[in-house]
Symmetry: C2
Subunit: 300 residues, 2 copies
């Protein structure tokens, strides 16, 4: 299941490599495929027989969880809130419906209550439900989420002169890589570009994922850099430079980025390289998938 | 550049394998990526410096040719006619525009004159243009188109009990495989499902591609079966069974087929297997790509 690493040439004297997680061969791939597989393994080990997840209409995780569920003939429920992004028709929303997921809409403040009611109802109907995010407050399953990229770390480790860049939303993926770096005593640099929340909130989330997975507190500042300088105002918000980046990377390399995650992060990476005068580095940008969002973008 | 072969289980006692050409890592891959690469190699060997191709708004070839052109900073022109299919907004049309291709619209009866005028104009401006389809009547480049899958044949050959199924539109891909089968004296069976034209027209096209590539006349009937029984009335026309097939393959295997080529052919293959009582065969369905068409489909 190892994905290819592709060189796309130099940027300001740094070699830019792209880790093509978008080529993982199920449901348009992406980081959430590896993470969702971990949820399903965990679900099986707990003898559960239906799955609940959380995500808005643009959620890649909700798409993949519902598709894995349909491929295994397991009922799937998605707690769906307005994510603050664009509300026009979304491919990931169409796809989760094709997979037959039942969408349970609620307001953000009611998530916990909605999860609890749904779990209760499913239990009353004889099911043993599994919630990807742990308990009704979204706590308790950090370790499973983090394990995916902690275990895959060797595919990403470039060693001494290597520098990994990736978008950071929930923080599950970067937390796994940080844990992998820690466990392997790797010298690779990791820089996360915030695409959803500000640095402080994101940092705390990531710290929690890493510490829970490693079962100890680590000094996150020494292991990773997380920046919200290229957030464009929040989740789903973009500017013309993000749009131009998506068009440029497609027309120059035939690779599809998206406005919410990879396009915003790629543009952030370029700005970061410029601003910090990076030079002579081997840079690995993780293409974390999100292909359906590219197809939403080109119709805008 | 070898693509994976994935088993998706049994159908009526036959093992169904999918050759994931859709995972070729440029511009959403597909058979036309391999073929377009051959055109670009041929263009270079002829010292041409701009490319002209032909295709409607749904054309995968036009998308990939324009994207390869933009990635190599070569001007690209697309002679575009109404293809008789759906005229609502098409992802492949958006994509060729992002790649910066110049679209030259014309009626089908005026293709030759339009090609000639365009070539003349480009020559007058100092360019050395290359037309993917040969001369203005679309004749003379059959060998280049056929070479892609002739040379890749060993990736597809399943030998004795093997049976290849694939969609047949232009016929370039199946012609390459037939030539490869002939040259390798392979016993693999090949069945082409017509998705655009009736059997006679398609058969003649394929015969021409194969004979031109091999520089001899071969007995096509003994090398391949081509059927138009599952054509649904022509290019771009579908029925509910094709739609259901696309939804089923996505929800069961996380694989995206499309209405025009792969979905229609996959459904045709299943009908063919039933009707001809195939049993105990190892069947390789070639996923020839067309991912953007899947995203058009889910919005319908």
């Amino acid at each position: 299941m190892e994905t290819p690493i592709q060189s796309i040439g130099k940027f300001l004297d740094n070699e830019i490599l792209i880790k093509r997680e978008d080529l993982l061969p199920f449901s348009f791939g992406g980081n959430k495929f590896r993470i969702a597989q971990k949820f399903f393994e965990d679900m099986e080990s707990r003898n559960c027989n239906c799955i609940i997840t959380y995500g808005g209409i643009h959620s890649n995780l909700a798409r993949i969880v519902s598709n894995l569920a349909s491929s295994q003939k397991i009922p799937c429920y998605i707690i769906s809130t307005h994510d603050g992004g664009d509300e026009s028709p979304a491919s990931n929303d169409f796809l989760r419906r094709i997979s037959g997921a039942e969408i349970v809409e609620c307001e953000k403040k009611n998530i916990a209550a909605t999860v609890e009611t749904l779990i209760e109802n499913l239990k009353n109907r004889g099911y043993s439900p599994y919630y990807t995010h742990g308990n009704s407050l979204g706590v308790g399953n950090e370790s499973t989420a983090t394990s995916a990229y902690a275990e895959a770390f060797n595919e990403f480790d470039l060693g001494g002169g290597g520098h990994i860049f990736l978008p950071v939303g929930t923080g599950m993926t970067i937390a796994g890589l940080i844990a992998g770096k820690f466990l392997n005593s790797s010298r690779v640099k990791i820089t996360g570009i915030c695409v959803a929340k500000d640095r402080q909130i994101t940092f705390e989330r990531v710290q929690n994922y890493v510490d829970t997975y490693l079962k100890r507190h680590v000094d996150l500042e020494s292991l990773v850099e997380i920046t919200d300088e290229f957030l464009c105002g929040g989740y789903g918000r973009i500017d013309h430079e993000v749009e131009d980046t998506i068009r440029e990377i497609y027309s120059t390399h035939g690779i599809a980025l998206d406005p919410i995650y990879t396009g915003k992060a790629f543009r952030g990476m370029k700005k970061f390289i410029e601003k910090n005068h990076l030079s002579g580095e081997k840079i690995l940008f993780i293409h974390t998938g999100g292909l359906p969002l590219f197809f939403d973008f080109i119709r805008k």
